[in-house]
């Protein structure tokens, strides 16, 4: 079966406030100065990336009742920084993570529609949900949502914003100076939306943006998350970075699209991955091992251990074996504001697996943490990394990647200079932007008002 050559999509993740970002390296710059955002964004645009991606968390993380102080901390406001980055770039997509629990649809719709205008059609929204009262303490709403209500609110939130985006068709402003008609429709922007989570009505005050609706990204991996993505998202982040699990995830999610009347190409799968480049593969492997040790210090290893064990393990030796005591089962009271903690659904079983791993490979506590917290990483010479990335895409383990560099702001410089040209030579990555909007870059048609489906006929033939 011969398939057409797929084009790879690439995004640059501004380094996050977690231990993937190495701040102790001499090359590490500011995580908050605007110049860092300018550097990363301009590098990504020079390399013809699809978009820049920003994560967000609305409360500083805590562990053991104290603000977590080992990782980079401190982020800008997502909308504001993206609007400023729009001033120093021309084509790069601008993707922001915005929480559907601690915002209101009217305001978020205004902000995304405004960002889309101010960037001439480059806005994207990574829709996330919160579950915790901990984060809620910073907001009017307070409280928290039950786990099962989070996706319901997210879905209703997204639908509500779509009602608002679609309340202007885009041709209402005539501004005819002769006749004195500014608007063609006296009722433009009118909406009324009543569902269990929202009861809103009135007239939306931002005219339709160049993309109609911003590109929708989604990161959840649960059953509900996959359905949400299949029904509503334009692209999905996954954590399934290996070839095998990537392919399984890819086909699982893509197979769900038909149920929503959507085509195979209407949802892109973009796993978040890291990379390490070297002059030789061995050199790259050596660098990668060093980076992992920078990312997981002895102190950091203990903190990860505490997150699973749900106990104070501050006296434990990170260079010794895993603790003999078992994890405390029940509500996790150690770590707050961290999504990963919820992934430990059966802490004792996870601990058993970690012990097996430690025994099999003769690993210390720190070495175990280095192994189990590693993401998919592409390690090698630029040629090898280009080849592997392309293999992932051509064999349907993904449609592209969100690259998470470990250094701010120069972490994708080498990738842009060495790997991208090789992908371009292979004809699997653009050498110039063909369109102006992010939807153009991603090959996604504008989603229409009436059906919520593609207006145009899918992606371009190339």
């Amino acid at each position: 079966m011969s398939k057409p050559v797929k084009q790879i999509h690439l995004a640059a993740h501004f380094p996050g406030v977690n231990n993937t970002t190495v701040w102790s390296d001499p090359a590490a710059g500011s995580q908050i100065d605007f110049s860092s955002f300018v550097h990363l964004a301009r590098t990504a645009e020079r390399a013809k990336f699809d978009f820049l991606f920003l994560a967000e968390g609305l409360r500083l993380r805590e562990q053991g009742g104290q603000i977590y102080d080992l990782d980079v901390v401190g982020r800008p406001d997502t909308f504001t920084i993206l609007a400023a980055v729009a001033a120093v770039t021309d084509r790069l997509g601008l993707a922001g993570t915005i929480n559907s629990t601690f915002n209101e649809p009217y305001e978020v719709a205004r902000q995304f529609a405004s960002l889309d205008h101010l960037s001439a059609g480059r806005a994207a929204w990574n829709v996330v949900t919160s579950w915790d009262e901990f984060t809620g303490q910073n907001f009017r709403r307070g409280g928290y949502l039950a786990q099962e209500d989070r996706y319901e609110r997210a879905k209703q939130f997204l639908t509500a914003t779509q009602v608002l985006f679609d309340s202007w068709r885009g041709d209402e402003i005539v501004a005819d100076k002769e006749s004195g008609a500014f608007l063609a429709d006296p009722d433009v922007g009118r909406f009324q939306h009543r569902v269990s989570q929202f009861d809103i009505s009135g007239r939306f005050n931002v005219p339709r943006g160049p993309q109609g609706r911003p590109v929708i990204l989604q990161a959840g991996d649960s059953e509900e998350g996959r359905e949400f993505a299949a029904s509503s998202a334009d692209a999905i982040f996954s954590r399934h970075g290996t070839l095998e699990s990537g392919r399984a995830f890819y086909s699982d999610v893509k197979d769900r699209l038909a149920r929503y009347g959507r085509g195979h190409d209407e949802l892109l799968i973009l796993p978040a991955v890291t990379f390490v480049l070297g002059e030789t593969d061995a050199d790259a492997q050596e660098k990668a091992a060093l980076i992992r040790r920078q990312q997981v210090s002895g102190q950091t290893a203990i903190k990860f251990l505490e997150q699973l064990w749900n106990r104070d393990l501050s006296d434990h030796d990170p260079d010794g074996p895993l603790p003999e005591v078992d994890p405390l089962v029940g509500e996790n009271t150690i770590a707050k504001g961290r999504a990963s903690v919820r992934m430990h659904r059966d802490p004792r079983e996870v601990a058993r697996q970690w012990r097996e791993l430690a025994a099999a490979k003769n690993l210390s506590t720190r070495e175990v943490i280095i192994e189990v917290t590693g993401r998919q990483s592409f390690i090698g010479t630029p040629a090898k990394v280009a080849e592997t990335l392309n293999e992932f895409v051509q064999t349907d383990a993904s449609d592209g990647f969100v690259l998470a560099p470990h250094i701010t702001p120069g972490g994708i410089d080498d990738f842009a200079d060495t790997v991208v040209p090789l992908l371009q030579e292979r004809g699997v990555f653009r050498s110039e932007y063909e369109g102006t909007t992010l939807r153009d870059h991603l090959g996604l048609a504008e989603r229409s008002k009436k059906s919520g489906r593609s207006e145009k006929s899918g992606r371009k033939a190339s």
Binding site: L70, I81, F182, N205
Partner: protein, 427 residues
């Protein structure tokens, strides 16, 4: 360009400035195609540009060429309306706009010196979000950010959020005791909101980020502070997720037309915009704000009071009047405004500003009737006239908005508190 560029500053004027009049501060209020409802119909108007970044960048560049202290950018949650408390269904005026904070952020990297003060509605929005948004505006502008806090009492704007219900009001209702009580509540909430903004800006001490490789700590968590605000409308725990911005606390501004908002200006703001119609009214308003300021224990702090004026400026008085008549004819009604409308020459306006300045005002926020005409009259005619009189700067003298307004960079209240606490430890 029809107008000559602003004359280069004359060193002799600068030398004579210390003995001359006190320099005044100038702001321009940007809104749509200008403040006259028919401004969009003039040949020079660019109504199709209102949703583009370039339109706003050009206006701010012009304001910056005129060495103005700051621009404000109007905003509202609801669609613009000619009625004060409800939407209208007019199709003959500019409708639709962009979020002002995002617009300010979009032009920040394209400007160097001028202050950027977008409007933010505080009645339905989250102080945590606006705090980090304005802090971020301060980062991307290198210390030129402010925010004008705006209260919304409109029932239709409450319905956009669906979180609370406000009664439909008409202008005749304003005097009713229950309505006055509601207005009082909304302004108290705004004061709480500003308090939360400032606490969150202070919640990271300036030197909280330590990057201490020896101990593995990125931040000194003793220098990150919970703000623990508990108010009638909201509680906020903190700290902010955004570090302390370059100005420490960006500028807070508010517009007021009566005593309740004057109290907000006096208690909470760094800059108030007021709407007197003559010098005596200006004197009374400034006196009222200074009294409230003293009552709030802020006499030692600088609170600027700028008068708003809607301006139509031309080389001759008759040309200005003719232009106003033409605009009124297009609008089908005489121009009316909460602010005094000035129609005349830039030199006449300079006379008026200097006269009103004697009433205690520290500056003016001018609302150009049409754009770019009245803005260029300000930057290319009014400013040189004031410079000749020694009443306006001839070059930007500071890098931050606080610097331009002569406001100090505040120390974090929490740093001050911990310094005080450690000072009391016996040695």
């Amino acid at each position: 360009m029809a107008l000559p560029d602003r004359a280069l500053p004359d060193p002799a004027l600068r030398a004579s400035a210390p003995t001359g009049p006190t320099p005044l501060h100038l702001a321009v209020a940007l809104d749509g195609t200008g403040w006259h409802p028919a401004s969009w119909r003039l040949p020079e108007a660019q109504p199709q540009g209102l949703l583009t970044a370039a339109y706003w960048a050009d206006l701010v560049a012009e304001a910056e060429r005129g060495l103005l202290d700051l621009v404000t950018i109007e905003d509202s949650l609801g669609l613009q309306s000619s009625a004060p408390f409800e939407p209208d269904h007019r199709t003959d005026q500019v409708r639709g706009r962009l979020d002002a904070v995002l617009t300010a952020a979009r032009i920040a990297p394209l400007s160097r010196h001028i202050g950027l003060v977008p409007t933010a509605t505080v009645t339905h929005t989250e102080p945590f979000h606006i705090s980090k948004a304005i802090a971020t505006l301060d980062f991307v502008s290198s210390g030129r950010a402010g925010v004008r806090v705006q209260v919304s009492g409109r029932a239709d704007e409450a319905e956009l959020f669906g979180r609370r219900t406000l009664p439909p009001l008409t202008p005749q209702d304003i005097g009713r005791p229950d309505v006055q009580a509601l207005i009082g509540q909304l302004f108290d909430e705004a004061a709480d909101y500003v308090e939360v903004l400032r606490r969150l800006w202070d919640s990271w001490e300036d030197d909280a980020e330590i990057r201490d490789a020896a101990t593995g700590r990125f931040v000194d968590r003793e220098k990150l502070h919970y703000i623990d605000f508990e108010g009638a409308a909201f509680s906020v725990k903190g700290p902010s997720i955004t570090p302390r911005p370059p100005q420490g606390q960006p500028l807070v501004a508010a517009l007021g037309h009566q005593s309740v908002p004057y109290r907000l200006i006096a208690r909470s703001a760094d800059l108030g915009f007021v709407t007197p119609h003559d010098a005596d009214q200006a004197r009374a308003i400034v006196g009222g704000i200074r009294a409230e300021q003293a009552a709030a224990g802020r006499s030692h702090e600088t609170v600027h009071v700028f008068a708003d004026l809607l301006v139509l400026l031309d080389d001759s008085p008759s040309a200005a009047v003719a232009r106003r008549d033409r605009l009124d004819e297009l609008a089908g009604a005489a121009l009316s405004s909460d602010a005094e409308v000035f129609t005349g020459t830039p030199a006449q306006l300079a006379d008026l500003l200097q006269e009103w300045q004697q009433a205690g005002l520290t500056g003016f926020r001018l609302r150009p009737a049409t754009l770019p005409h009245d803005l260029e009259q300000i930057t290319r005619r009014l400013v040189p006239e004031l410079q000749r009189r020694g009443a306006f700067r001839t070059a930007y003298e500071a890098d931050t908005l606080r610097g331009l307004l002569g406001l100090p960079r505040p120390e974090s209240r929490y740093a001050a508190a911990s310094a005080a606490a450690s000072a009391t430890v016996p040695v």
